[in-house]
Structure formats: C-alpha cells, structure tokens
C-alpha cells in the first residue's frame, strides 16, 4: 500500500487479556517505530526496529509488552495481561533511513481495556 497500515483500528478487550497490534510499513522502509499516545499527550516512544532487530526497546514500559519484526517488514506489538492503564492509541511509523529521516505514521490502533 501507499502508506503505513495498522490493524485493528479499534480494539476493545477485557483486563487480563492478550492483545496483538499489527503494523505494515511503507514498502522498502527499513526502520520502524512504535509509539503510544494517550489523550492530550505527545507520542511516547516504545521501541524502534532497524531491519529485523530491535535497535532500542528502552521505551517498553514493562515485560508485558513485546514487539517483533521477524522478516524486517511487518511488525507486531504484543501486550500480555492487559491493564486499564494500557488504554491508548498505539501508533506505528516507518522511515527509510532510521537515523535522520522523517517518520510516516499510520492511523493508529485505539486500544480500550475495560
């Protein structure tokens, strides 16, 4: 596709459940970022991939959060034992050069934990 695609666009789940959020970056983009944005806040950095490897995962809040990018393209953010505080919009972005390029964001996945 032409842009960054994220699915699902909306996810409602119950506390304690497991959730997967998918990101399909722009074709050819080697770098991929995950951010979390709560209402009225700026995007909060979670993790950054260069190719298949996580170059910086310092923003993951705890070990319930995990992300993979096995073939260097599509990425999945996985959240175990969801908590109400995990409710937010999860944004994915990709870029060509990683270190200096502009980020192209997807529309986000809105996660609501009841």
């Amino acid at each position: 596709g032409a842009g960054v695609s994220q699915t699902p666009s909306n996810k409602v789940t119950e506390k304690g459940k497991y959730v997967e959020l998918r990101c399909d970056p722009i074709s050819g983009h080697t770098a991929l970022y995950w951010y979390r944005q709560s209402l009225g806040q700026g995007p909060e950095f979670l993790i950054y991939f260069q190719g298949t490897g996580a170059a910086d995962d310092s923003g993951l809040p705890n070990d319930r959060f995990f992300a993979v990018r096995p073939e260097g393209s599509v990425s999945t953010l996985k959240i175990q034992r969801t908590e109400r505080g995990d409710s937010a919009v999860y944004l994915c972005a990709s870029t060509t050069t990683g270190g200096i390029g502009e980020l192209f964001f997807g529309e986000g996945s809105r996660l609501t934990v009841l």
Partner: protein, 112 residues
Amino acid sequence: GQQVMQIPQYQHVQEGEDFTTYCNSSTTLSNIQWYKQRPGGHPVFLIQLVKSGEVKKQKRLTFQFGEAKKNSSLHITATQTTDVGTYFCAGRPQGGSEKLVFGKGTKLTVNP
C-alpha cells in the same frame, strides 16, 4: 532519560494573529523535527532541522534550531483556521540511539 518540553500547552488566537511554540530538550540533539496532528488524525511531518542556528521557512511557518542544539521554535504568521491542530517537536539525542522523543505538544485553536 532525555526529556523534551514544549510550551505553551494550549494557545488560542484570533485568525490573523501570530503564534509561537517553544521546545526545549534536556540533552543536546542531533536533529529536531516538527509534526502537526489534526484532531482525530495522526502526526504529519512538517520539517527537520539539523544544523546549529538553522532557520527554515515554509510559507507562513518559520522554524528555528538553537545554537546549542537544545531548543527550537515554530512561529506561524497570520494564523488561519486551517492551522488548527497540535504541533509537536521531536528530537533525536546526539551520539546515542536513533529514537525520536516527542514533546507533549502545543494545541492551537483559531477563532475565525
């Protein structure tokens, strides 16, 4: 860790007035970017500044990067209703990770 602070948090102006938002980093940056997010939308890239003291213009928007590469500003001349949205600065720390750290943004509303 690195922090990026933005002020003001909110700004309401009359159409035609000027608007400025300021961004300050706790650490020296290799570059800084600015994004605009419309209500209900996702952040959209506006510009990137790399050099110390750099100034760039895009029509009514002027972007500056401080001499010490720790602060930046965005100035909009003669605001229009189409300028409504939240403006974020985002900085990459110098000599470290390539992660991009966003400020909390300045939400601009324009009264026609």
